[in-house]
């Protein structure tokens, strides 16, 4: 048995849509553990009225849910405290991406799971690939659905194991038709959203690639210690960009909304290249106090978002945005600057170069990546009402 201080082992069962069999697989693994003599409980289970899955619950100890009143309605959430008191060796927790009702101790179920792991309890959990933060824009682009329940990539990277539950879309659509996934009304709505063959195919491909990426990340981490890397500096002599033994990426944000997509894209590229990643905002003074309230809120949101993805952020002081950025980049051996593509080239652009043009001209010694906004596929249907993030 593990020492009490050791962190629990996290296993994620990854799928690409409701009904592929994640919960079933989770319960099967719980039964297998029980057969091996492990003290295992079900911490949270979402039946969705699926008979096969509910049947797998037989013989398992289920920790009763906690009831929470919110605006006169009673909600049921996982009772993390009760699980901690029960202190099993292993716990099955459905729907890792779930957002708890306001009034819960923690905002997200994945945060509850962190508490269980910290207490030394092993966790088996389930999620769909579209809940991954870094894939949010891509998923929206081909499905038209903005998934609201998202998990930062680092949470998944920290899992000890990620296992894919694969099922061809045909078989999934059959399950949907048979009524094995949703009630008839919900199935009809679902068929207009995620449950189109092309969308399911795209999600499935993402899930396969993501699992491959997670597998690779784990064996590479086992293979080599990463080289020590310098911290960010604000003063000192400029340095030449690092020789490309490793990349250092600087994401330059503004108050504009595309900054969120820019941060996701930059972070995703950084993750795949095993690169360092930083976010910077340039302003004439070192804080945001004199920005118009709306802009300040937007910038703060972007910076908080970056920090939630575990990216180091900086507010840089400077009058000239492009020069400040490039100077900071040289100082810190940045190899790549990420910028958002200007939304629409104005007539003024002919007279006054855009920030992108200025940075491209100044930073002739490093790479500048101009990230374009992604647009929706014309063929994708508008999302029908009635389905939210937790149900996809």
């Amino acid at each position: 048995m593990a020492e009490p201080a050791a962190r629990g082992h996290l296993k994620i069962i990854l799928g690409y849509a409701a009904g592929v069999g994640k919960t079933y697989k989770m319960l099967e693994e719980a039964h297998e553990l029980k057969r091996q003599g492990v003290d295992v409980v079900v911490g949270y289970f979402e039946p969705h009225g699926r008979k096969d899955t509910i049947g797998r619950l037989e013989g398992m100890e289920v920790i009763p849910r906690r009831r929470i009143e919110y605006r006169g309605v009673t909600f049921e959430e996982m009772d993390t405290d009760a699980i901690l008191r029960r202190n099993p060796q292993s716990c099955a927790v459905d729907e890792f991406a779930h957002t708890n009702v306001p009034g819960s101790e923690r905002g997200k179920r994945w945060e509850d799971v962190q508490v269980l792991l910290a207490a030394g309890i092993d966790v088996i959990t389930t999620m769909n690939v579209q809940h991954l933060e870094s894939l949010n824009d891509q998923v929206w682009q081909f499905s038209g659905v903005r998934v609201r329940e998202r998990i930062p990539d680092w949470v998944v990277q920290q899992a000890d194991e990620v296992v894919l539950v694969d099922l061809p879309p045909d078989a999934l659509l059959n399950r949907l038709k048979r009524g094995a996934v949703y009630s008839p009304e919900k199935a009809r709505i679902a068929a207009q959203n995620f449950f189109q063959e092309s969308t399911l195919g795209a999600l499935r491909e993402l899930a396969l690639r993501q699992t491959a990426h997670e597998v690779e990340g784990r064996y590479i981490a086992q293979e080599a210690e990463p080289a020590p890397r310098p911290d960010l500096r604000s003063t000192g002599a400029p340095q030449a960009p690092a020789v490309e033994t490793y990349d250092r990426i600087l994401i330059a944000i503004t108050a504009d909304p595309p900054s969120a997509a820019l941060i996701r894209r930059g972070k995703r590229v950084a993750d795949y290249l095993h690169a360092d990643c930083f976010v910077a905002f340039v302003h004439s003074r070192g804080d945001l106090a004199d920005l118009p309230a709306e802009d300040r809120k937007a910038v703060e949101n972007h910076l908080n978002f970056a920090r939630s993805l575990r990216i180091e952020t900086r507010i840089l002081e400077g009058e000239d945005v492009a020069q400040t950025l490039v100077g900071f980049a040289r100082l810190n051996r940045i190899t790549q600057i990420f910028l958002a593509r200007p939304r629409r080239p104005s007539r003024l652009a002919l007279l006054r170069p855009s920030l992108v043009q200025q940075v491209v001209r100044l930073a002739r010694d490093m790479q500048v990546t101009v990230v374009a906004e992604r647009h929706r596929a014309a063929a994708a249907a508008a999302p029908a009402p009635g389905l939210n993030g937790s149900q996809i």
Binding site: V163, E205, L208, Y272, P342, Q367, V368, A377
Partner: protein
């Protein structure tokens, strides 16, 4: 060798339409192939295959038989086999082979075939079991098969390198590409360690690493198959593909500068993302000998990097590259800073500025030159 870009015609070619209709009809008569792909023995491919057969029989009432199984089986597998009709293997020159004539005669709706890579003795009608499966499919019998990654011909060298040993029998990857469905049987490496014999801790770690690498290859192989299926589906349904799960890096090379660093980065990015590397240049008629030499050198580097190289024709280089990038579903374009900027370009923006301005939905990465 540089290929010329052939743009897809706007209107469908009647011959192509006819071919499509005929292919569609043939596909309807032909049985459907479903393949369970595993990355090692012990992940549970056979079990999943048999369980699917059992469900189709018991739940859907389909007429299912077992055409071939492994000789050695676990208790779980034996329990499933008892609930299914098994057509016994027959022995040719002492080698167990699938009794294809008995299956054709029995004519079930669905036939389960384990060990897709199995080879037959020379006196059999088909050398390979996958060819027998092809015959079953042609006769309207659907097949559910299972195969281990190490037997996929195109993956053979890579797998042999990781495992340190090689196999004789193989199945061409194109055969999997023709499957109606491919399903990955995924499991953490620990679950297959039991079947690989004993060894110390170091041995176990090494095995685990090997298995993780094999697992990654299997997942990416399935992703590629799914990618092609998706492309075909969108094409057949007249849907535009503006999105790709796969990163495609388009490197724009010119006769005016060394594309080495850009190509190296492109190839590293393609490797890390398991994406595609595409290289293109816009042909110019009046190159100086020095420019010609630079272009040739860049092209040589591109081919060495394993890129798909394209020569494009067009008046406006930035526009030409953009049109090509869109037709190929590129997600990123790599371009170099222009070194020869005229005053007009400094004021109005050079090709790179225009590339950025026009690159709707595509990232542009500008490289030092």
């Amino acid at each position: 060798m540089a290929q010329n870009l052939v743009l897809r015609p706007e209107r469908p070619d009647p011959d192509e339409l006819l071919r499509k209709v005929m292919a569609e009809e043939a596909r309807e008569r032909r049985g459907k192939l479903k393949v369970f792909l595993g990355y090692a023995s012990g992940v549970g491919k056979s079990l999943r295959m048999l369980d699917e057969g059992r469900r189709r029989k018991e739940r859907n009432g389909e007429d299912v038989v077992v055409g071939a199984t492994q000789l050695e089986s676990t208790t779980d597998v034996r329990a499933l086999l008892e609930r299914l009709e098994v057509i016994p293997l027959r022995y040719v020159e002492g080698v167990p082979v699938m009794d294809i004539d008995a299956i054709l005669q029995r004519k079930p709706q669905v036939c389960l075939v384990d060990g897709l890579a199995h080879d037959n003795p020379l006196s059999c009608r088909h050398r390979h079991r996958w060819e027998e499966v092809d015959e079953l499919l042609d006769n309207g019998i659907s097949v559910i098969a299972s195969v281990n990654l190490q037997y996929i011909e195109e993956q053979h060298d890579k797998v042999a390198q990781i495992r340190g040993r090689s196999v004789e029998e193989t199945v061409p990857q194109a055969f999997l590409g023709r499957a109606t469905e491919i399903e990955v049987v995924d499991a953490p490496p620990e679950s297959c360690l039991g079947c690989e014999g004993p060894g110390g801790e170091a041995d176990r770690l090494r095995r685990e690493q090997q298995l993780a690498q094999l697992r990654e290859i299997a997942l990416l192989l399935a992703a590629d198959v799914v990618d092609h299926q998706l492309e075909r589906y969108l094409l057949e349904h007249g849907m535009e593909q503006i999105w790709s799960a796969n990163e495609r890096f388009l490197v724009w090379i010119t006769p005016y500068g060394d594309a080495g660093p850009m190509l190296e980065s492109g190839s590293r990015n393609a490797r890390r993302f398991h994406g595609e590397l595409i290289v293109a240049y816009v042909a110019r008629p009046d190159l100086t000998p020095a420019e010609r030499a630079m272009l040739d050198r860049n092209l040589k580097l591109a081919r060495e990097a394993g890129a798909d190289v394209h020569a494009l024709d067009g008046e406006d280089p930035a526009e030409t590259i953009l049109a090509f990038a869109r037709s190929r579903g590129a997600t990123q374009i790599f371009a170099a800073h222009g070194s020869r900027q005229t005053w007009v370009e400094r004021t109005l923006g050079g090709p790179v500025d225009r590339l950025i301005r026009g690159a709707e939905g595509i990232d542009v990465r500008v490289f030092p030159q």
